[in-house]
């Protein structure tokens, strides 16, 4: 009940406008962050803008009285996903997008933009046209620790009605972890094999060049010896 808490903190402040201002602030931050993600040329800036987007969405979840999901949003997305992205971007180094002239499908990009804009306009139009019900009242007294959006209520839902979804999700996470390891190992293995191949090839080349040089040297020495037996003056020089 963000509104009630704020009203408690500021008794003179009317609850409604302040919550609207908060929504405007975080919605603007979310949209600006998302736009920056898709317009920044540096992937690093994109990832950090996504962090802004995630955090402001977490604040919006808090406005919707869902503290547990808001904490999960900050922990999982801002804490884990963005950090993973930043690690990979730092690992792969600076790879900005190529110059615009190099874009092979450049003619299709305005069409893609128009398609995405039309899709968004359609979604917003549907939202405007639809008649959503007013928010249910959740301010009535509930048993301690059982309020809407509390960890306890979500835990009951997960281990009760949605226990199958819970188990399947854990299986999906396990498969994803194994898949990540396998992908990392195959990429690494190929990398190592290529490097070893290059090393052995260069070693072979070095050996061959060495043997070739050795043969040339022995042939020259033999020729010199042969020349030395015939004419002693040449051998002494």
């Amino acid at each position: 009940m963000t509104g009630l808490i704020l009203a408690d903190l500021n008794p003179e402040l009317p609850g409604a406008p302040f919550e609207v201002i908060l929504f405007g602030l975080f919605a603007t931050l979310a949209v600006v962050g998302a736009l920056r993600v898709i317009t920044a040329s540096d992937p690093f800036v994109s990832a950090l803008s996504l962090l802004i987007n995630f955090v402001s969405l977490g604040a919006l979840y808090l406005m919707l009285d869902q503290s547990f999901v808001a904490i999960g949003q900050i922990l999982v997305y801002a804490g884990a996903v963005v950090v993973l992205f930043l690690f990979v971007i730092a690992y792969l180094g600076d790879r900005r997008e190529l110059a615009e002239d190099a874009v092979r499908l450049r003619a299709l990009r305005p069409i893609a933009l128009v398609a995405a804009a039309a899709f968004g306009a359609m979604l917003v139009g549907v939202v405007i046209a639809a008649d959503f019900p007013d928010a249910a009242d959740i301010s009535k007294k509930t048993p301690a620790g059982f309020s809407f959006g509390s960890p306890r209520a979500i835990g009951e839902a997960f281990l009760g009605h949605y226990v199958l979804a819970f188990e399947v999700t854990s299986l999906v996470l396990l498969v994803a972890a194994i898949g990540g390891i396998v992908l990392g190992l195959t990429g690494r293995a190929r990398h190592d094999r290529l490097r070893k191949l290059m090393q052995t090839r260069s070693a072979d080349q070095q050996k061959r060049r060495y043997e070739q040089a050795e043969q040339e040297l022995t042939a020259r020495r033999r020729a010199e010896l042969a020349a030395g037996t015939s004419t002693k003056e040449d051998a002494s020089t």
């Binding site: 398609a115 999906v172 990392g184």
Partner: protein
Amino acid sequence: MTVPVDWFVGLSAILFAIGAAGVLVRRNALVVLLSIEIMLNAGNLALIAFSRTHASQDGQVLAITVMAIAASEVVVGLGIVVALSHLRRELDTDELSELRG
């Protein structure tokens, strides 16, 4: 809740469209993955808003499940990107077309 649910769902629609534009327009594989994250979060916002409207936990359960799936997707997607970067230098989605037909 003084802010009507329409606003949250409208914001979710706008964010989803931005993410879709990013997936369609950008060519860096990493940025495409980031845009997919925006779309997943837009869907989550709608789920959460409707969950609050109906005062039921179902939407929250779905949103948390979506978070888990998104984490799995990031692990596998970034694994593919790193493996690709070992095989070849560029991460251009226009060039990465081995799986096409």
